[in-house]
Symmetry: D2
Subunit: 334 residues, 4 copies
């Protein structure tokens, strides 16, 4: 089955290439970025002698000729106009941008006017543990944000036990790769090395994404207070969910029950760390209480479970394959 | 004025030496560790050609002969028996261990039986912003823990505005130097590099210290839920306090008011970072709200404001000096 | 084909497990360390839900029952006594220790008395680019040291053009994983982070290994002057070979010619970096001259090409498989 | 004595400010960058509550009114035109750029046409150990490059014992701050973290600087082969000089003799590390031999001994002060 990768220059594009090279069913038939005219080995020198494909200037008609499904690793706004073309040409789309993640009103409030209102309502939110059946018949998947992936997997199992009149706080920490390959002050080595700080506290655009999904999936309307931090590491993401329990409950049992059939969620009995999930699609979760205070602690690889490997799981489901097919599970340890 | 440093082998001992070398009034007359018979340049090769003092095997009678005040950078339990001797010999003590930080009952619950009950009630908690007058006449100062220092400086100004029936959460991140120079798995480079994780969530011994001081200083009995994390950096500490406001309040005004006379607290209008305080005694604080949700964000150097430079501030006050005398304020940037 | 991994606790043992899980032909039938009685998921928590095998206390007879070939990731000295047993029981051995790398006299001078003189002369040095034919019929392979692997692959193509009366210098830099998982001062995070230094200059035991192989493979008796450094990173190794050319030569052509048939050597036209080889079995090489001065610059993953993946290449050859079978080629980038 | 800092935005400008704040004699009377109209606390937030000075748009006439000496932390080319003005106005200059470091011909070959030929021959090369007397009467000091500082301090003592017909190799490693605060791909965190590589091998502009000074100071015309590497750390520099001795010599005695009167060179009996010199003006040196092969190993803080603190030592000498006045000697350890 032929697939295309659009937006091959960035980190998530590279991760898609790396996963799909070893995928038993998907075959990379088209790689594109905004400029083209380069071999993928020049674009990503680490791929020398590994894969030999030309990088094209992205063109929807070309994609439609050679691929059944396209992964879009594009900036938001750019993504929806390209997705629209592909969908109209009958190509399945897994969109890694924010463009189809939110309901129209939420999207336009936090991002920009939407340019593909036709398809937005068809998009399935690509968190496989909670949307598996919908994903199987979907033609357009909105791959979740990295923070929402780790936060929702931690929060959902407990939402029924949480006092949602009390504040819910999420303190999240991400490696710098979440900020992308572009040159920015916050990702300058001299700034980030031996440093750590919050950014956009209570204002990050993943906050409304988390809040909206809690409402859609669990029917609970509550205020999520989200503070992300930048860590001086390259990959990995750690999330602390702090909430108040309504009553005593065996939190580990709740967690085990919630994910007993999940291939990619591992329950831990010690606090989760970044390294055990780096390089994999796993989400590790740990839970602890202090009387009514609840601490749910999750870890993912922000580029994989938070982006590219989750995208391939979604593509597996869309194409009738086993969700585990070709998905990385072996961690970057040490 | 002659001072002694007992426990010179560890990180906080080294920081004390580094500060006191340049102190205009204090003169290091005695340096000791548990073994002695070494020059301080052998113990800390970075001090070659900087200071030339023998390291003695710690002996309280020798200290009393040559110093008016002693800094104890010893493990808890070891510290109280040494402090007791020094106090009985008339030597002033700044104790960097936990031994005199807590009320007797709290201490014995979380640490071990206390061996110097006589002096524990004389000890002043060395957080200068809140105990300045008591420090000026004190002969025994209990230097606060690193996490409590950063957490209390963030929390105290807001305690009157916080709904203390709602949960208060503290998510803290520390550099590895807080774990000391001894060889441990969690401070092995292969474990910590490119990693991050919580440890002792809701069970760390700094949690009762924070809770007790909130009660003593502010008269408020509330549950503090504290989760520390280890960062892959050497020095620095970041604290997030999450709480619920009772009512609308101008949080920046509260903060400015609380610290308008403080030499070592800086109010920031962007989230605080580690680097701006590393190498200094400053505590930087930033505050943000989301309706009733409160986020107070503080940063200190865990070895300085969280230990050694705060100890010297306390010694300055105990000896009638200006609190700013000889205190480092120039950050390790870049 | 069933294989055993002896010495599963350390970094190279873990890397062997990670590679062999995905190997198309080899099946891990036995995993052991010095204590046993543990599941491999407890030993390496990152393997939770990935592989479910008991870790045994190493026993040669048990190995012989269930495996045709064993990888020994043991300390030197321990390794040779275990290898001896296995070889006598008819099990093929890939030994990752130093025990069979050197000629007897060299070994005993730099390590300790040898305890398996019988087999030492049968051992083939497992650098596939230079010993491929011998490896195919070998029953005992001595897997090269990490530094010698990177140094010899850089040096061998040029040895005929180098003035071996002039000094040859090798300045090498390794990530800390080369120093192993045990707790040591030099691998304490507080020591190594933001630091870098040479160790054992001109005295490291990989120096005689390099020198001996230059003599054996190329017939050239010359003095190699080797200085390794420790880098504040986890994995990767960079080698600078500095030598003097006898005459003008097209060094890039020499390099291309030497490795035109090598699956795992990549010639670069810019200086090599660590990241492009991390996670893979590749050795990247770059060469530059300044009149008669020669700089050959190679990069490998010290745990893979410098240990575990090279071991699997060797096992592939010993078992009549394609050398590329199951060998990792996708780098840890970013 | 009033001094000016021109070029305050970069790392070396900040280091100058940090040193001069605590200098007992020099008083910062003027700080400038290319834009001005900002307080230094906005330019460098770590200086909040530490120093309160306006940053001006650089103007030579203004400098001449308020300062006797100016430190120029400007890019090369920009620096010489500003220096020329200042010198003509009678202001002493310590220039941290490359503009006055080289003889005219060498400069123009490796940089660009020189715009202040009048003063270039008056410039004294600011390596105090070798130019102390000349510095005392100088009005224009060319502060050495970071690599040449570490390399020459290592090389000079041995030059008489080295066979200069054999190749001399220098393998150097620098922290990223040497590459400056500007956004570049090689200093992007995603590129540099967990990475290391050479750059400009045999082509870096510090190579002719080293070569020229060996000729000028020691009268020896030899080829220096210089390969710098970038390390994934912020500050510090390590240099390995590899050469061939003409005869047996007690290398430690040579080193001790060379620097017996030097306040800022420390001879080590183990390989030097970055941390022991970080934050200081020290150059640590270690030497080892392997028969005729020589390894001289030096460490400096690239921003201090390699730039700003050496500049202040030079200013001290130019102004008749003790060279040690106000110079940092306490390392960033841990």
């Amino acid at each position: 089955m032929n697939v295309a990768i659009i937006g091959a220059s960035g980190y998530t594009g590279l991760e898609l290439i790396k996963i799909l090279i070893n995928h038993p069913t998907f075959n990379i038939s088209y790689i594109a970025n905004s400029t083209g005219e380069e071999n993928v080995q020049e674009l990503h020198p680490c791929l020398k002698d590994v894969i030999d494909v030309e990088v094209s200037k992205a063109d929807a008609n070309e994609v439609a000729k050679v691929a059944d499904l396209a992964f879009l690793a594009l900036p938001h706004k750019t993504s929806m106009s390209f997705a629209k073309e592909l969908l109209n040409l009958g190509v399945k789309v897994v969109d890694l941008s924010a463009d189809y993640r939110l309901e129209l009103e939420t999207y336009e409030k936090h991002y920009c006017p939407h340019e593909d209102k036709e398809h937005i309502k068809d998009a399935v939110y690509g968190l496989p543990e909670y949307y598996k059946e919908e994903l199987k018949s979907s033609k357009l998947v909105a791959n979740p944000g990295c923070f929402p992936t780790a936060a929702l997997l931690a929060l959902f199992p407990f939402i029924d036990y949480i006092d949602t009149n009390a504040q819910i706080f999420i303190d999240a920490k991400t490696g710098m790769s979440g900020a992308g390959k572009g040159l920015k002050e916050i990702t300058h080595f001299g700034h980030l090395n031996e440093n750590c700080h919050a950014y956009n506290p209570f204002k990050h655009r993943h906050m409304p994404e988390i809040q909206e999904k809690v409402k859609l999936v669990k029917g609970v309307d509550c205020q999520i207070n989200f503070v992300p931090h930048l860590l001086p590491i390259t990959r990995g993401m750690l999330v602390s969910v702090f909430a108040t329990l309504k009553e005593d409950v065996d939190v580990n049992k709740v967690l085990e029950e919630a994910y007993k059939d999940s291939a990619f969620v591992r329950i831990r009995n010690t606090p989760v760390d970044l390294k055990s999930t780096a390089g994999t699609n796993f989400c590790d979760i740990f839970v602890e209480t202090n009387e009514k205070a609840l601490f749910v602690n999750s870890s993912i690889d922000n580029l994989l479970r938070g982006a590219s490997s989750q995208a391939v799981v979604n593509a597996n489901l869309m194409c009738g394959l086993d969700e585990e097919e070709g998905i990385p599970i072996i961690a970057y340890v040490p």
